[in-house]
């Protein structure tokens, strides 16, 4: 991972839209259900390319989820997406019963996830979606780190998954630092940077912030490895154990509540199989607020500087 170069900025939602549109040329079963904000969640590309496979259902998320179930029961592969706040809470019962209990393959896109969505404020900042979705049996939960990876996740999900899939992504352009050759395997972590003293396991936008944090930590002589945990469920147990065994200390970072998210998933593995000191960084049981994305990252202390500072304190405490 070359942190000295500049990467293209691209919103992860664009990766979702492009991934669906591309895989749809190969898989004729794919249909997309619109919930009014089609272009806003990246699905405008699909609608333009496959107007006969796009169905508008308006601002009615509960119905969208149930209709998706009905289509899947008939052998189609429905995809729908709206803001992650709505798609995981407004229609949660439909997702749970109509889709997951029926064990149906439906791709659910959680758009505008995290606090990075900024000025819209707390109602539109999904900070609980990972916790909610990973508690639902049969649900695969994926939180890719950049647009390229969202695209790959979508394609892999279509090719490999059997049941429901939740893919989380954001709106703001972020560095696209993975490349098309990089392998992507659902359920496997990716070691992006090697190090000796501590392992940072991050997900989504926080992977890039964590990589930047390691540059700051290096100045203090701390060697830090960074792992991208793009699949929260199923969690990569053997990967996480091997990282913990190597560095003995684990930090998790997520743009999500610390209650029930990536940190919880990692600690469920480590506390039962290899207890070790852990620091869980994320949003601490509070709603977000309006502000610019960078301001919010800083205020809620999940920007690279805050991550570096907290990791340093954590390591001193553990010495």
């Amino acid at each position: 991972m070359d942190l000295s170069r500049t990467y293209n900025m691209r919103a992860t939602k664009d990766g979702f839209g492009r991934g669906i549109a591309e895989i749809a040329t190969l898989n004729e079963k794919i249909v997309v259900l619109g919930a009014d904000i089609t272009a806003s969640v990246g699905l405008g590309v699909f609608r333009d390319r496959f107007p006969n496979r796009f169905f508008s259902f308006g601002i009615a998320e509960q119905n969208v989820a149930s209709v998706a179930a009905g289509l899947a029961l008939e052998g189609l592969l429905p995809v729908f997406s709206t803001y992650a706040t709505f798609v995981t809470t407004r229609c949660l019962d439909q997702v749970r019963v109509s889709i997951a209990y029926n064990n149906l393959k439906v791709i659910i896109g959680g758009a505008h996830a995290g606090i990075l969505v900024g000025p819209d404020g707390a109602t539109h900042q999904a900070l609980e979606d990972i916790a909610i979705m990973r508690a639902i049996p049969r649900m695969t939960v994926i939180s890719p780190c950049d647009a390229m990876q969202v695209e790959k996740a979508v394609k892999k999900a279509v090719e490999e998954c059997k049941g429901p899939i939740y893919i989380r992504f954001g709106r703001e352009p972020v560095p696209e630092f993975t490349n098309s050759d990089q392998e992507f395997e659902i359920g496997k972590t990716q070691l992006l940077k090697d190090g000796e003293d501590v392992t940072i396991i991050a997900t989504g936008h926080m992977v890039w912030e964590s990589l930047l944090a390691t540059k700051i930590l290096e100045q203090s002589g701390i060697s830090c490895q960074v792992v991208n945990c793009h699949t929260i469920k199923p969690i990569d147990q053997s990967g996480i154990l091997s990282f913990a065994k190597k560095t003995g200390k684990i930090v998790t970072v997520e743009e999500h509540q610390v209650l029930g998210g990536l940190g919880s998933a990692v600690s469920e593995v480590l506390s039962t199989q290899f207890p070790c000191p852990m620091l869980i960084l994320g949003i601490n049981d509070t709603f977000g607020e309006s502000g610019s994305p960078r301001e919010l990252f800083k205020k809620y202390q999940i920007d690279s500087e805050s991550i570096a500072r907290k990791v340093e304190i954590f390591l001193k405490q553990e010495l």
Binding site: V67, A69, E74, D93, V97, Y101
Partner: protein, 289 residues
Amino acid sequence: MTRDSNVSELINITFQVRLDILEMLTLAKSGHLGGSLGVTDIVVSLYFNLLRHSPENPRWELRDRVVLSAGHLAPALYATLARAGYFPIEELKTLRQLGTRLQGHPSLGVELPGIETSSGSLGQGLGIAVGMALAAKIKQQNHKVVSIHGDGELQEGAIWEAAMSASHYKLSNLVAIVDRNQLQIDGHTEDVLSLEPLAEKWKAFGWEVKQCNGNDIKDFIQVFNSVGFHGTKPTVILANTIMGYGVPSIENDNRWHGKVPTNDEYESFKEQLRKKYRDIFGRSSAQPK
């Protein structure tokens, strides 16, 4: 296949199904008796006369689909499916017991033949039926999709989201049947949260509306057969029923929504049911088997 049992044969089957329901719930010691008895004539008419389906080949591509949105009415569906030959009648006795395929509410995961979808959380079945009906249009198949709802269930907002989408997509292959017994757990629907004017509501949502006596097999079949299926609108049948139909001492009594008989009550209910059917057959000049 289409079963086209005549009315007196159908009445015989409903008698048997109602006996099954009484026995199943008495054995299970939990479940929903009133609604199951009330909806029996509708479910039996569908499977033994109106629908195209194949108990020997439950996943037959061209079958008509039934979504029991009011999943708590499962005993009526289970008993009817068993009587139609989908699975052994003996299995009805396992209702709600550990390891059973007859879950408290229908479950797709346990692979009970004839079950199209899991249900039990009210208000979701119409959306599922919309998805199935839309899939049929996409695949240019001409089977019917039938959903069955409780009237109290219509208080769920998701029903009206689905209703809007069904007329938007002109799903003429979809028929929603409302078991209009006017009762829900807390009391009379019009006291709990009024539904009327119900026919006008559905009309305003772009549906063809039909009404019938849902405990009168002849009337229900006639009304169902009058559905066009090829027009531009989905159809709703508001079927007026009596909760607990067949056992006079519990008819129209919402306390029997989710209650089951004691062993003594079971004997009394069976006796009441036999008497009721003697009266029904007396009126129709048909003979009980």
